[in-house]
Symmetry: C2
Subunit: 345 residues, 2 copies
């Protein structure tokens, strides 16, 4: 009875955003249909891939820091990440065209109506990345790591507002716990400095969290708007605008360095590995948006943060703090509550 | 339907332990009966009293530490706490006898069958207090404060096993969060030392948590076994044995000091205030056992810990750490989950 009531409520929801969440709910109650099983398998696979790629990303960052800083231009690397994602999407499309032929859903050509919203996430990320340079006047790097956990809350709130998808009370509680748990796990003796962040710093951190959350949720809205459209075509158009906006970033931030020292100055093996990793995890994020949602993405990257810390113990002789154990416990309980919250709502 | 299923399960439960939890569940579904309302009011009042007394207890301890250490014998103070509780119970009984007359439920005389279990909690506390002297060979005082949070888990587990009362899955999750949240709130830069506690120290901490949890749960079982018996009579017998076991503790630990320097050596105004406070909070604990349960007691003392920290900011210019905010958030979510877990099970 409880379930039927909730299903009725779901009817108010924008049909474009009513995706496999509800299918999965059905699968659990009625037993999985073969179609649901495939989708569920896809969802699990892309989530695992994102977790794996995000953890290895963080490990590459630690590795590159320990190997000494490379003075490459971050904006050129970001441009190459977008270009590589674009190339990989085209490659995947080429294979699909050969096996399935060109159809309405997988053709590359598009309409102004479809493509007009694609620049928005890239533009939001550009603004966020530019802001990132200014926030360090108010917060140090470890403090910024702590403040970045505000992304979790902003994503949840914007997911609710923009995609109009309901989270149950338990799932909201789980989301607050995820934010508190991730922050706890990252605590170190100097973390209390964050509390001295000036007001402007807090405002900037909140704006950046909103921009990042909005970009993520908007990407999901774009991708889910046309459920039958091939994900590689959707990715292609997202990444084309990603490339374009990164050209703008190169011109604003690193024009002189690129002209004087060359586009690839300061690149090393680790830089190349990081670009490949960023490209693959970028594609994994798109896949998670298509087959799951932003909430799964947030959980996946949070778990990746914990996995990174544990792996770093073995790779770099890191020590795990009591705060890490407590934070991990809270994150684990949060994941559990999120899953039972889904069934009980 | 869900509720009916759970009610059927409850029938297996020892009737002596089936108390106002179920009455409260009924009250929420059928609307509160006047009888339930009184009990609910009583439950809230004793819980608030316990929270208030526990916070002021901790504040008195901080005050006494700042005023310099008083070299009084802790065992004599513990004895006086029991004696004062005994006197207060008799006083309350005297008033009841005058207004209601002596009845079967409020007469002081008892049977061997009734009284035989009353020494057990006092004996358990004695063993725990004696162990406390030895654990400091393995853990320092701030580390012991952290390890004491194991009490939360041990109380939950023993509550389930001994009183055979079910907690819902959400309530278990809430309980783990309460433990993690309280520990997080108490974190300080030196807390990581706890992880280096030797194995013997861990075992002792776990045994002490079990002893303390068992004493609490057993007290609840004794008090709830005879629901109609006047709480002041039950308290009287508990405290008589408390006095007796504290005489044993004085002889074991402080015999020489008491003989040479006198029973009241080193007492000050703060010592007297602390004894009064301990006595009143001891009575509040008994009341919580009678009208609520050990779970309410654990939540109440955890909230008291947070209240103490906030009050200390104003009284002693303490600074609140980021860990405190995160821990408080987790504890708040835990309380919320515990309350919705009660309704949903």
């Amino acid at each position: 009875m409880e379930y039927r009531r909730i299903k009725d409520q779901d009817k108010d929801v924008n049909p474009a955003t009513e995706d496999l969440e509800s299918l999965r709910g059905k699968a659990i109650l009625d037993g999985p249909a073969p179609y649901d099983k495939t989708k569920w398998k896809m969802k699990s696979m892309v989530t695992l891939a994102l977790t794996f790629l995000t953890s290895s990303q963080a490990i590459l960052i630690v590795w590159s820091k320990r190997a000494g800083r490379y003075e490459y231009s971050v904006t050129t690397a970001n441009f190459l990440v977008e270009a590589l994602k674009c190339a990989l999407s085209l490659l995947a499309l080429g294979r699909i065209w050969r096996t399935e032929g060109v159809t309405e859903d997988n053709r590359l050509s598009t309409t102004v109506d479809e493509v007009s919203v694609y620049p928005i996430p890239a533009a939001l990320y550009l603004v966020k990345n530019l802001l990132q340079y200014y926030i360090f006047a108010y917060v140090d790097a470890p403090g910024y790591q702590i403040l970045k956990n505000l992304n979790i809350i902003s994503t949840g709130v914007l997911y609710r507002i923009i995609l109009k998808k309901k989270l149950s009370e338990i799932q909201w509680a789980a989301f607050i716990l995820l934010c508190a748990g991730c922050t706890t796990a990252q605590l170190n003796p100097s973390s209390d400095h964050v509390l001295q962040t000036p007001f402007v710093g807090w405002i900037m951190a909140i704006i950046m969290a909103l921009l990042s959350g909005f970009a993520g949720v908007y990407t999901e809205a774009i991708i889910k708007k046309r459920p039958s459209r091939n994900i590689n075509v959707q990715n292609f158009w997202l990444y084309v605008f990603g490339m374009a906006f990164n050209v703008v970033a190169i011109i604003i931030q690193d024009f002189d360095a690129v002209v004087n020292k060359g586009f690839f100055h300061g690149y090393s093996l680790i830089t190349v590995l990081m670009i490949i990793n960023h490209a693959l995890s970028g594609i994994a994020v798109s896949m998670v948006m298509k087959y799951a949602d932003n909430i799964v993405k947030v959980y996946s990257t949070s778990v990746a943060m914990l996995v990174t810390a544990v792996v770093s113990v073995f790779l770099f002789n890191f020590h795990l703090s009591l705060a890490f154990f407590l934070g991990s416990t809270v994150v684990s309980v949060s994941i559990y509550l999120h899953s039972i919250g889904k069934l009980q709502r």
